[in-house]
């Protein structure tokens, strides 16, 4: 698996809308900075990707493994949630994959979260706490 991560730059809109969590082997992991939903995003650190099928076969296998790890992680933190997962890319072209914990009382239920209303950011303390919690859950999932 060739590492072309040096050519990778996170899309500016993704960077602005999220809080950084860290890197998995292939993916940059982000938390959507939106108090309405627990929402994780995985961005393969390869330049120029648009579709999942643009990944090489090895990278695609790794990517799906990382999606599964993140999904288990979100589910462990929100055991009663319905997971919504997917990649759209209609607005932000850079390949990124969403894993969202949905609840029947959330703002967009039962519709999709994408394009629904305005993001409501965490305050600095809340954001930092959330990132730390998620990093802890992710370390647990990876061991």
């Amino acid at each position: 698996m060739q590492d072309s991560a040096s050519d990778f730059h996170l899309d500016l809109r993704l960077e602005g809308d999220t809080l950084p969590v860290g890197n998995l082997f292939l993916s940059r992991v982000l938390l959507m900075n939106d108090t309405r939903y627990p929402w994780v995003i995985a961005v393969p650190r390869r330049a120029g990707l648009i579709e999942i099928i643009d990944l090489s076969e090895d990278e695609r296998e790794q990517f799906w493994r990382e999606v599964d790890i993140l999904a288990r992680c979100v589910k462990s933190m929100h055991p009663h949630a319905k997971l919504n997962v997917g990649a759209l890319g209609n607005v932000v072209k850079q390949l990124h994959f969403h894993i969202v914990a949905r609840h029947t009382a959330d703002a967009a239920w039962p519709g999709p979260v994408w394009g629904h209303g305005a993001r409501t950011p965490y305050d600095a303390d809340g954001g930092a706490r959330l990132v730390a919690q998620f990093q802890k859950a992710l370390r647990h999932e990876l061991t």
Copy 2:
């Protein structure tokens, strides 16, 4: 990979909204009966599944391979489309995965297709033709 397909029954709403294409090793393949978007659905033929992470590790690998095959197939038929892929399950609980070819002129662009407006079914001839085209493209992708 244990075959518990005998316990599998397609959700009635999925059955009513789609045209049957056939079975891959793990998944039943359906075409959404909606002229607004080229739209394929994969349903793992295992009873009682809600989340992708409910699949065993072997089945999950197979499932992602089949999703990738279907995505390549849709892209081959619609080379200028942006793929939208994902699993929600907020309305229909049975695990099913969407692969949709999106165009900037389509009814919901750039928003998601899920929950957007009413389905407009194909006439019988159009539906049969579409299924035959997709089966041909899928056979090509599998060989």
